[in-house]
């Protein structure tokens, strides 16, 4: 007896989001879990974790921010290979402000966020008309180029970097500041992408000619998305500068560009929640594998390959699809 899996879409009216959500526990769990788990989890975890894992959690939140920033750009049709640019520019702005003029962190971080957003947007403005791989190539090259510029001209401490930043008041402030901002970005921008404004952004990715044909200036909207994404990245960089009390060339490292992409691929693009989920899985995994020494990157790579083969669409869209479709096994007709 051969059987096949039959998938039936749930009726549109029968989806959650309405009073209907109260009809069953499954609906209620589906609605509340993706909201409650990250909020409660991120708020409680710092209290129970030791100092070392608290630092790991901090870097989870930072990479989640970078992944969210990457996802927003990707939703607007700009596949970036250079999140390190945003991270690095934010880091250097706050570093310079604090090192040369002694601006306290709680002023320098917001300045770096906004200024970083503006500077990165201006840097990428000329290539906004490029699409697909051409845009990606430019975003990848700019951070690598900036490293060489800093090395050659010896500005901002050259290869030594700038040291002696003012640390944030305590490790609790560090971790909760980043987590708070990350949760606000996650839920805020998720809501934004679902609004009419977000539809326009997603429309640009899908079919930019059609959006132009609706009388909308796609370059202006792309600029706005770029500013949002680069501000998020610059914020992450600015905070990390004050956490490490150091800023140097490593802030433009390829890690900051590639890791967010891996996180989005694992978690699933387009949802922002997927990006966060990916960061939550990958960063601790990378830490846990440290015991293997040099083999760490091999195991890490194997995990990524297995993952992309098993759930190519990403965890979060996978769960969404499972919810939106009834599945059952039916006999195949002869």
């Amino acid at each position: 007896m051969k059987k096949r899996k039959e998938r039936i879409d749930r009726g549109i009216k029968a989806r959650s989001g309405d009073i209907f959500a109260l009809s069953s526990y499954r609906e209620m769990i589906y609605l509340s879990t993706p909201r409650l788990v990250p909020i409660i989890g991120f708020l409680i975890l710092p209290l129970i974790l030791g100092i070392y894992w608290q630092k790991v959690l901090l870097s989870v939140a930072v990479f989640a921010l970078l992944a969210i920033s990457w996802d927003i750009l990707a939703q607007t049709g700009m596949v970036s290979l250079g999140q390190a640019l945003f991270f690095g520019v934010g880091a250097y702005i706050t570093g310079a402000l604090n090192h040369y003029w002694g601006v306290p962190p709680f002023i320098s971080i917001p300045i770096a966020t906004i200024m970083g957003g503006i500077i990165c947007t201006l840097m990428l403005l000329p290539v906004l008309r490029l699409r697909g791989i051409y845009f990606s190539m430019v975003t990848m090259i700019i951070p690598l180029m900036l490293v060489r510029v800093i090395e050659a001209t010896k500005i901002f401490g050259g290869t030594e970097g700038l040291t002696g930043m003012t640390p944030l008041p305590s490790r609790w402030v560090e971790v909760y500041l980043v987590i708070g901002i990350m949760l606000i970005c996650l839920f805020g921008f998720r809501r934004m992408l679902d609004s009419d404004y977000g539809l326009v952004l997603r429309g640009i990715c899908d079919n930019d000619r059609s959006v132009t044909n609706a009388g909308i200036n796609i370059y202006w909207y792309k600029t706005q998305a770029l500013f949002i994404a680069s501000s998020i990245g610059a914020f992450a960089g600015a905070v990390m500068t004050h956490v490490y009390m150091f800023v140097g060339m490593p802030v433009f490292a390829l890690d900051y560009s590639m890791f967010p992409i891996a996180a989005v691929v694992v978690g699933g693009p387009g949802t922002l929640a997927g990006a966060t989920l990916g960061a939550c899985l990958l960063v601790p995994l990378s830490e846990a594998l440290r015991g293997f020494g040099g083999l760490r990157i091999v195991f890490y790579g194997i995990f990524l390959v297995v993952f992309t083969v098993a759930i190519p669409e990403g965890i979060f869209p996978y769960i969404q699809r499972k919810y939106n479709q009834f599945e059952r096994w039916v006999e195949v007709d002869k």
Partner: protein, 250 residues
């Protein structure tokens, strides 16, 4: 009768490398008129539309809309002035439900200033507009992802998107292509209703029979040149048009 010209093209040219897609074409569209544009394949009809909306830049010549030159403006500005078009190849946002497809034109500066609407209102506006073009309100068609809709509905969606911009001039690029006779018959009244509202229409079409029933005037293109201009029946009688469509006797 003194007609008001809404669109005027004066000696427009377009070269793609060595190919001259549009040669020295001049024509005008009067207010409230339906102008048909016909011609064999590759005669430059779609290029003409792309030139009007500036998706493709003119090589020379000028285009005036309501008496103002528009050939230096970017496409989104031109559409903001009140020209909207449909595409021959329908490419909706496949994953989004049909009515969400309408949100993007409704969010454009022109639609927002003319129709207003806050976040949330636009869903209702979208459903109203879709009903106008024949998405039955009681059914789920409007809520289905655009990717699963049949061609007939996709063409209607494309039309609704163009209507939602509240245009003064609509350019319909092969609206009837790929549709059955019954579907065409159900779309024709929608087009006629638009004409009654005072919207001028340029209609590019291969289905001459259906077009001639509603067109006030027709221009014929062949190899990028305008070879005839006038009332439908007269145009089809002319020697040049017969040659273009049927070939010359050897």
């Amino acid at each position: 009768m003194n007609q008001v010209k809404i669109l005027e093209a004066i000696k427009i040219n377009k070269n793609f490398g060595g190919v001259q897609a549009v040669k020295n074409i001049s024509f005008e569209v009067n207010k409230g008129e339906l102008l048909g544009v016909i011609g064999p394949n590759g005669s430059g009809k779609t290029t003409l539309v792309n030139l009007i909306t500036q998706f493709v830049r003119l090589s020379s010549g000028s285009i005036k809309f309501k008496g103002k030159k528009i050939d230096h403006l970017p496409p989104h500005k031109i559409i903001g002035l009140g020209i909207s078009r449909t595409f021959q190849m329908v490419r909706p946002f496949y994953k989004l439900p049909a009515y969400k497809n309408m949100i993007i034109p409704l969010y454009s500066p022109r639609a927002r200033s003319l129709l207003g609407g806050k976040y949330g209102d636009r869903d209702a506006m979208a459903l109203d507009l879709l009903e106008e073009v024949g998405f039955e309100r009681d059914s789920f068609v409007a809520y289905k992802p655009a990717g699963v809709l049949p061609q007939g509905y996709l063409k209607r969606l494309e039309l609704a998107k163009a209507i939602s911009l509240q245009p003064d001039l609509m350019i319909l690029d092969e609206l009837f292509s790929g549709l059955s006779l019954a579907e065409v018959a159900s779309i024709v009244p929608i087009v006629e209703k638009l004409l009654q509202k005072g919207i001028s229409i340029i209609m590019i079409e291969h289905r001459l029979k259906e077009l001639f029933k509603i067109a006030d005037r027709v221009i014929v293109l062949n190899y990028g040149e305008k070879i005839a201009d006038g009332v439908a029946q007269d145009v089809m009688e002319s020697e040049a048009v017969k040659n273009a469509y049927l070939g010359t006797e050897a």
